[in-house]
């Protein structure tokens, strides 16, 4: 509650919260709000020559190149983006926490190995790796989520590692140890709670990165599979119409930007509230 109140006091974070709530409402209420099925390729959704229709009374945001209602597709696309944002980023944070804590707490050979592995993953160009993986595996919503998670955990692991090492040296942990507390107890009772602010901050900021990454993969045609709408693949399918039908790029582009921006704003505000000493990236 304290955190929420602090958030609401910041105009930028408030703006972000509102946008996120709207997007969540879009995703949850998509079947109720959407005027058409997102997959319905309507006969009157194309001109006689086969061009998409601009926004009009019947199709609020116009139609796409197959004669489907863009508004309905954007609504259902919100589901895709949020699912990927939550799942992919949730997995990434979980893996990052696990590896970061283990490496930071255990030191020795195991910790060293884990950190070398993290270094190894750091040396992969993230986006390139994601593109290669997504292109080579059979793309689907879950594969895309897995690929993004595989790429995104590394940064979290590094930060958690540094923090855990700091914690391990702290007096109260040393004291617990000398009292003979088990490893699990120390990990769960003392270290993990101290890492929660970091996890929350990165969990939020990471959603922004994830939404952008999903959009990029889908834009390249290797993301979520058609006809399931995603904001990125809507742009992918319409990019050649950029000049003739700008609404097909503008609306999904704007909503991707707004969503990513909102998660960034909230994450940044959370960082200030939860841990004022930590600023800048990383």
């Amino acid at each position: 509650m304290r955190v929420l109140k602090a958030l609401l006091r910041q105009p930028a974070a408030l703006f972000g919260l509102i946008v996120v709530l709207v997007v969540v409402a879009m995703a949850m209420g998509a079947p109720l709000i959407a005027p058409y099925s997102p997959d319905n390729q309507m006969f009157d959704g194309l001109t006689i020559e086969g061009a998409p229709l601009p926004p009009n009374a019947q199709f609020l945001l116009g139609t796409d190149t197959l004669g489907r209602d863009l508004f309905s597709r954007l609504l259902f696309g919100a589901r895709t983006s949020l699912i990927i944002g939550l799942v992919a980023n949730g997995i990434a944070v979980a893996i990052g926490l696990l590896i970061g804590i283990l490496a930071g707490y255990m030191r020795g050979i195991v910790g060293g190995m884990l950190m070398r592995f993290t270094d190894l993953m750091m040396a992969f160009p993230a986006l390139l790796l994601a593109i290669v993986l997504a292109a080579l595996l059979r793309p689907s919503l879950w594969i895309v989520a897995m690929v993004i998670a595989l790429v995104n955990w590394v940064q979290v692991a590094r930060i958690v590692y540094t923090e855990t090492r700091g914690l391990v040296e702290r007096d109260f942990i040393l004291a617990e140890r000398s009292l003979g507390a088990g490893h699990l107890r120390i990990l769960f009772r003392h270290i993990l709670p101290h890492l929660m602010p970091t996890a929350i901050v990165w969990g939020t900021l990471g959603i922004a990165t994830t939404v952008l990454l999903e959009a990029t993969l889908s834009f390249l045609g290797i993301g979520v599979q058609p006809p399931q709408p995603s904001w990125g693949n809507i742009i992918f399918e319409s990019q050649s119409y950029f000049q003739a039908a700008p609404w097909l790029v503008f609306f999904p582009g704007a909503i991707i930007l707004l969503t990513a921006l909102s998660f960034n704003l909230i994450g940044d505000a959370l960082r200030d509230i939860l841990d004022p000493t930590q600023r800048g990236r990383g």
Partner: protein, 539 residues
């Protein structure tokens, strides 16, 4: 009979000397530099290896072959050969070479160069994709099996004579000598370049490669010593690579580019078509192309003929042509309309949702079934796959669309039992040479229904296979018409088994700048794509 045909072909050669005047509205001008763009890098220019539709036309112009085609048509004419004759049994072909033809390194082209070039293309060490085309030449098995490096079926009695001995009659053999893999190369240049011959090509064609900046541009200049006078027409063409089709088109409208090689993205098509200069910039013509869906006869429930027939009636092809902005026509048989043997009277399966549902019910699927539809992942193919998906849903068939990179789709198609349905768009069969047999063997015949093959329906009908072999041994030129009719019947009979759903015949649309001259069929040449020899710049 042969003599008469020979005379006719020599007549055709005369036409070939001034080919464009026959087709174009105005006389071609000499000179001019033009710029052509493509998105992808140009792969090798080695004629024994190059095999995609972009380098195909460049290789055509860099080298010459014994046979070639009249520009813009599918008419075979002697090229490097002056005359030729065929024995009565169709097993021996004798060619007399044109005198005084020189490679661009200055050496004269002799008969042994022809032998060397074809043996090189057939040799497995070359890793050439076209080796199999020479399978009817005597001794081919020894070469492909690595037992020999020379083809015993090619005889070179003197510097200007080449004799081919075939192990079986092959009605397509003259076409085989006109495809790129039969291009004549000088052995000394090949040996000097080693594995890099594809980047340092030497031939005796209309153009010479002057410069190649990897990832940026290739510069071709006319070969001043080319053996046909006033060919080619342009002095130079520069190929710029890495250009998105959309960007290339915007540049073309500004006059910075003369030919946008990748065609016109759907969105721009309407805009340009409806613009004042549109008609002068768009070349829109038929090509030897059929877009189809393969129904895997080895995967349930497509092993059931009724299911395959039902789905043939379920697709609204007219809507698909509309999604393509009318740049295609609905297809009802494997052969495209321009191909000899195409049956104009054949109607195939007409679009009828009710009948399709009834047939599915009869086959035991009143509620439809679930399946997977593969497609390549470049626009507009996933969109077409979705249109097909919607049509299938209307008869109760739930198809999951899998849009993958082209190579992955090809791999899935060639794996037994893997891909139930494949939409062929983006990798559809475009004929290697204008002969109906080329639409059978690899994609519908038993020989293609193997692991890694291109017969993605895994359709194998022994009876039809026998008829195909019979048709291909009808090498008597007098029976050309009859042979075409036999082939036509083969394809319409295949449709009774319904291994494919023929969807569309897509027209090729090329954008050219207003100053480019030449008839439309020079830009959509049935054997070359763009015929760089015949295009010209209007002054």
């Amino acid at each position: 009979m042969f003599k008469r045909w020979l005379r006719n072909t020599t007549m055709a050669t005369v036409l070939a000397l001034v080919p464009v005047s026959v087709w174009a509205q105005d006389t071609p001008q000499q000179g001019g530099d033009i710029i052509v763009t493509y998105k992808d890098d140009i792969a090798t220019l080695d004629p024994a290896i190059g095999y995609d539709w972009v380098n195909w036309s460049m290789i055509k112009s860099l080298y010459s072959r014994l046979m070639d085609y009249t520009p813009g048509t599918a008419t075979l004419v002697p090229s490097l050969a002056e005359t030729f004759g065929v024995s009565d049994d169709g097993l021996t072909y004798t060619f007399k070479l044109r005198k005084g033809v020189k490679f661009t390194n200055g050496r004269e082209v002799v008969a042994s160069d022809v032998k060397y070039s074809i043996e090189r293309a057939a040799n497995p060490k070359t890793q050439g994709p076209g080796a199999g085309f020479f399978g009817s030449i005597k001794g081919y098995e020894d070469v492909s099996g690595g037992k020999s490096t020379t083809l015993e079926g090619i005889e070179v009695p003197d510097d200007s004579t080449v004799i081919f001995h075939l192990s079986r009659a092959d009605a397509t053999f003259l076409h085989v000598l006109a495809i790129n893999f039969a291009s004549v190369v000088p052995h000394e240049a090949v040996e000097a370049a080693g594995s890099d011959f594809g980047k340092k090509p030497v031939g005796s064609g209309t153009f010479v490669l002057k410069d190649w900046t990897i990832g940026q541009r290739l510069v071709f200049e006319r070969n001043p010593d080319y053996f046909v006078k006033d060919m080619p027409h342009i002095d130079k063409f520069t190929v710029e690579v890495g250009q998105e089709p959309l960007v290339a088109l915007l540049r073309l409208q500004k006059g910075e580019v003369d030919i946008a090689g990748d065609g016109i993205p759907p969105a721009k098509f309407l805009e340009i078509k409806n613009s004042p200069d549109g008609p002068k910039m768009i070349v829109d013509g038929q090509q030897l192309h059929t877009g189809y869906i393969t129904l895997n006869t080895k995967v349930k429930p497509f092993d059931n003929l009724k299911v395959r027939q039902a789905l043939n009636m379920a697709i609204n092809k007219d809507r698909i042509t509309r999604v393509l902005n009318g740049r295609a026509t609905a297809a009802n048989q494997p052969l495209p309309p321009l191909m000899p043997g195409y049956d104009k009277g054949f109607t195939g399966y007409t679009y009828n949702v009710e009948k399709a549902k009834a047939l599915l019910a009869e086959a035991g699927f009143p509620d439809g079934f679930e399946t997977v539809l593969y497609s390549t992942n470049t626009d507009p193919q996933p969109r077409i796959a979705q249109a097909i998906q919607q049509d299938l849903a209307a008869v109760g068939v739930k198809a999951e669309v899998r849009a993958l990179a082209q190579a992955n789709v090809i791999a899935a198609g060639g794996t037994e039992g893997e891909a139930p349905m494949i939409w062929s768009g983006g990798m559809a069969w475009i004929a290697d040479f204008p002969d109906p047999s080329n639409f059978y063997g690899p994609i519908l015949g038993c020989s293609g229904a193997i692991s890694g093959g291109w017969n993605w329906s895994w359709y194998c009908n022994q009876d039809i296979d026998k008829r195909a072999v019979a048709a291909d041994s009808m090498s008597d030129p007098a029976k050309v018409e009859e042979r075409a009719a036999v082939w036509g019947k083969i394809f319409t009979d295949i449709m009774a088994d319904a291994p494919w759903i023929p969807i569309i015949n897509e027209r090729r649309v090329v954008a050219k700048s207003v100053r480019m001259g030449g008839a439309d069929n020079i830009y959509i040449d049935p054997t070359r794509v763009i015929n760089y020899d015949a295009i010209y710049v209007k002054q």
